[in-house]
Amino acid sequence: MCLALPARVISLDAISQSGQVDLGGVRKTVSFALLDEVAVGDHVIVHVGYALSRLDPDEAAQTLALFADLAAHHAQDAPDIPSVQGPSEGGA
């Protein structure tokens, strides 16, 4: 649920349990009170001013590879299917 975005940690203050994150060049101060461990350079999911979880870069890479793998697999095995052109004009 809900608007939560992955952002990169650029600074940390252990005492206040907060720090700055960056998303596409935008910086915001968030709280890390909900995370056990976090380091500068990590990516975290931010929701209503709090970091909820760390993003695992290996798992992210694997998930992306999964999308691409399936695509490669499909290109090998599948019969000829016309390419998807997107919706027709007018959205019928």
Binding site: L3, L23, G25, V26, R27, V46, G86, P87, G90, G91
Partner: protein, 365 residues
């Protein structure tokens, strides 16, 4: 024993003074504001004006400004009037202030009609307690903006409201311009097949103001794009492209403006999300705040609808002008009895782009 100096009025303390209720009462204090703040600031905007005797024009202290009409206007020209009010908070934001907005807003309204702006009026509703230094800053900003747009600020009014009844300052400007015969731009003139051109990246003004309120910081700050578009429009009108509609997407953003045009012209539209110019930092900030940049205000951009064969010419003209370097063709006018504005998403699907509903309240979920 000393005699009071005749006619002596202690000058306003422009460094540390504040607006109080006497400044709006129409008496000596109001007069001082005009003489010590507004006239000195706006004087450079009318240096090119002459009165009916060929002498340099002076504003005088009458209820209205008498101005000769320019003598070199083409036969069949028409007059255009436009007005705009500004209530932005904060008054000063990255990239601009309320003064610039007030001048650019009305100049741009005239420009969207294809008109050359001539003169502006300026009305101020000031809150008791506004620092005079801020007012001077605003007035100078207005003068700078007016000079850049080659327009004179020739008359105005000041009122003061009690502390707590205003956000520092509300400004309203009205502009007079003229439009050449044969230039007929209107939101009702879009035709099926027309190209939709956007002059540059979106969302910057809305975000520059919102980010101040929300305490966002940026690696490279998002600044308001507020700018006078009349010279750009002048170039566009002269390039030979068959222009149907010009509109600046201010409050409500590109999405709302296109819906207005679609409804007025009785057409639909299909946009291409990937073609819409957008700074990464604006996109990031919008993601973080749950906003859609297509609904944020722009104060230095325009939408132009033109005959499809003229797109390349129009784009070349835009690209050659400093305010149009990022211009793109972002879509097409379609036949649609329901007047929907739709968009092919960068992802590959299709979605509607509806009118702005209510205020863009940042969402959490």
């Amino acid at each position: 024993m000393s005699l009071a100096k005749p006619g002596y009025v202690r000058p306003l303390d422009l460094k540390h003074g504040r607006i109080d209720l006497t400044h709006g009462a129409g008496g000596r204090a109001s007069h001082q504001l005009v003489q010590e703040v507004f006239h000195p600031a706006f004087a450079r905007t009318w240096t090119h004006l002459q009165d009916t005797h060929g002498q340099p024009w002076q504003p005088g202290s009458d209820d209205g400004a008498v101005l000769p009409m320019p003598t070199n206007l083409p036969a069949g020209h028409r007059l255009v009037l436009a007005t705009d009010a500004h209530v932005v908070s904060p008054l000063f934001f990255p990239g601009g202030d309320i003064g610039q907005l007030a001048v650019h807003g009305t100049v741009n309204d005239l420009a969207m009609m294809g008109a050359t702006p001539l003169h502006l009026t300026a009305s101020f509703i000031l809150e008791e307690g506004l620092p005079l230094a801020d007012l001077v800053r605003i007035a100078r900003s207005m003068a700078d903006a007016a000079c850049e747009a080659s327009v004179a600020i020739v008359t105005g009014d000041t009122k003061v409201v009690e502390r707590g009844k205003g956000d520092g300052a509300y400004l309203s400007t009205t502009g007079l311009g003229w439009v050449a015969p044969g230039v007929r731009l209107s939101g009702a003139h879009a035709q099926v097949g027309d190209a939709i051109v956007l002059s540059g990246a979106i969302g910057e003004h809305g975000l520059a103001v919102l980010s101040q309120r929300e305490g966002l910081q940026f690696e490279s700050p998002i600044v308001s794009d507020t700018a006078p578009l009349n010279s750009l429009v002048h170039a566009m009108l002269g390039c030979g492209a068959r222009l149907r509609v010009l509109r600046d997407p201010t409050r409500g953003g590109v999405a709302t403006t296109l819906n207005e045009i679609a409804a007025a012209s009785g057409v639909g539209m299909m946009l291409d999300e990937a073609a819409i110019p957008l700074q990464p930092a604006v996109q990031g900030a919008c993601e973080l705040m749950g906003l859609d940049p297509l609904y944020l205000a722009n104060e230095g951009k325009l939408l132009a609808l033109c005959h499809p064969d003229d797109v390349d010419t129009l784009l070349a003209t835009l690209h050659a002008h400093p305010l149009g370097t990022q211009a793109r063709c972002i879509g097409t006018v379609t036949e649609d009895p329901l007047h929907f504005v739709q968009m092919r998403t960068a992802f590959g699907g299709c979605r509607m782009l509806d009118w702005l509903m209510g205020d863009p309240l940042p969402r959490i979920c």
